[in-house]
Amino acid sequence: MSDHELTHPELAEVAVIDDSEDLSRSEVILKGALATGAIYGTLMVGPYVRKALAMSGGGDIDIVNFALTLEYLESAFYAEAKKRAGAKGELMKLIDLLADDEQQHVEALTATVKQLGGKPVAEPKFEFPYDDTASFLKLAQTFEDTGVSAYNGAAPMIKSKEVLGAAGSIVQVEARHAAAIRLQNSEEPAPAAFDTPLDEKQVLKAVEPFLA
């Protein structure tokens, strides 16, 4: 497929690498989420994630481990961006804030998996395709929008009210990040009235190929 057909080609170039060769279910779903976002746009990520988690059938531990994998990605992305994104001033302050928030999400989700009696997934290695501030910001925008959509897709599957509350608390912060990054890009901060499509059935047909 050529880049011209992709909605977000930058997402297609993100590498999720598992050195242990023990590719976790969470990593598989994350790769599918990135592919779905790359091809169909970030709004489609939510329905894809929900369906993929439903098919894996592992309950809250699996859902939180998927969220943890997503936060690993965001946390690594911003930690690296402090050195690599060529940011200064206000943008540097924003990156610091985002890096700190995502790291706190990683810690909270790790603790949540343990509380639920599960084993937190290991952090994969990531490779982020950007080479300047502009391409960093573009990728940051699609990551944040992907994160919002992924959480919104996954949350209705969560059984524990406490875990649902925590996921809601995190997704609102991701949405705030998304808006802030979009302002940096002079893009509409809240491009649609709904952060996941209301007609999921229609969407699922499109993303079916990514459902492992």
Partner: protein, 216 residues
């Protein structure tokens, strides 16, 4: 491929929500005022007591939660409509306010449809008045309203029974969060005032905050 797939949501433009007019500003001002006295108005349903959830005054279970959200979205829509009419904003800021107002109107439509789908009766549109004195205080009121709105949705997430209703509420919740972040940015405030984890607000707190803007 479009980013937004919103089949099922009426794209009908929101029609002058506030038969009234002044709704927006008062709304904002009241929200930010912790010390303000609250007045009882006829439009708000009587508060429930005891163990019943505050949203039950709007209906049982998910219908009550949706009607509670609908009431808040009516207020937000009226607020933005009044702000647009006030002439206090121009250019980019006006465009932001118009866009947010349109999105709140879409939330009104979606929530109205959701209540009907569940076999409930949509809550009536409250009449509201908002203080609209100058751009700064109005922006502050807008930020207060959006942060409160986001917290209100978060506060209900765990109370919602139907996964479909929860999905819809979450799809709106994060948009309110985006709005809040933009308004906070306009004011030079933190985009994440609660830190890495947003805090919820219960219905009682939220309803008490908006009550001063409801006039009948």
């Amino acid at each position: 491929m479009p980013e937004s797939t919103q089949a099922g949501v009426s794209r009908r433009k929101f029609m002058a929500v506030g038969g009234g007019s002044v709704a927006l500003a008062a709304f904002l001002a009241a929200c930010g005022d912790d010390s303000g006295t609250t007045t009882t108005t006829s439009s708000m349903p009587a508060k429930s007591s005891g163990q019943t959830s505050e949203t039950e005054q709007f209906g049982k279970g998910d219908i009550g939660i949706l009607n509670y959200a609908l009431t808040l979205e009516y207020l937000e829509t009226a607020f933005y409509a009044d702000v647009v009419k006030s002439g206090l904003f121009k250019g980019k800021d006006l465009a932001v306010i118009k866009k947010f107002g349109e999105e709140e109107a879409e939330h009104v439509d979606a929530l109205t449809a959701a209540v009907k789908q569940l076999g409930g009766k949509p809550a009536p549109e409250p009449k509201a008045e908002f203080p609209l004195e100058d751009a700064k205080s109005v922006t502050e009121l807008a930020a207060t309203v959006e942060n409160l709105g986001a917290a209100a949705y978060l506060g209900q997430a765990a109370n919602i029974e139907s996964p479909e209703v929860l999905a819809s509420a979450l799809a709106i919740h994060s948009v309110e969060g985006r709005h809040a972040a933009v308004l906070n940015t306009l004011l030079g405030k933190s985009i994440t005032p609660d830190g890495a984890f947003a805090k919820p607000a219960d219905a009682k707190t939220v309803l008490e905050s908006v009550e001063p803007f409801i006039v009948g």
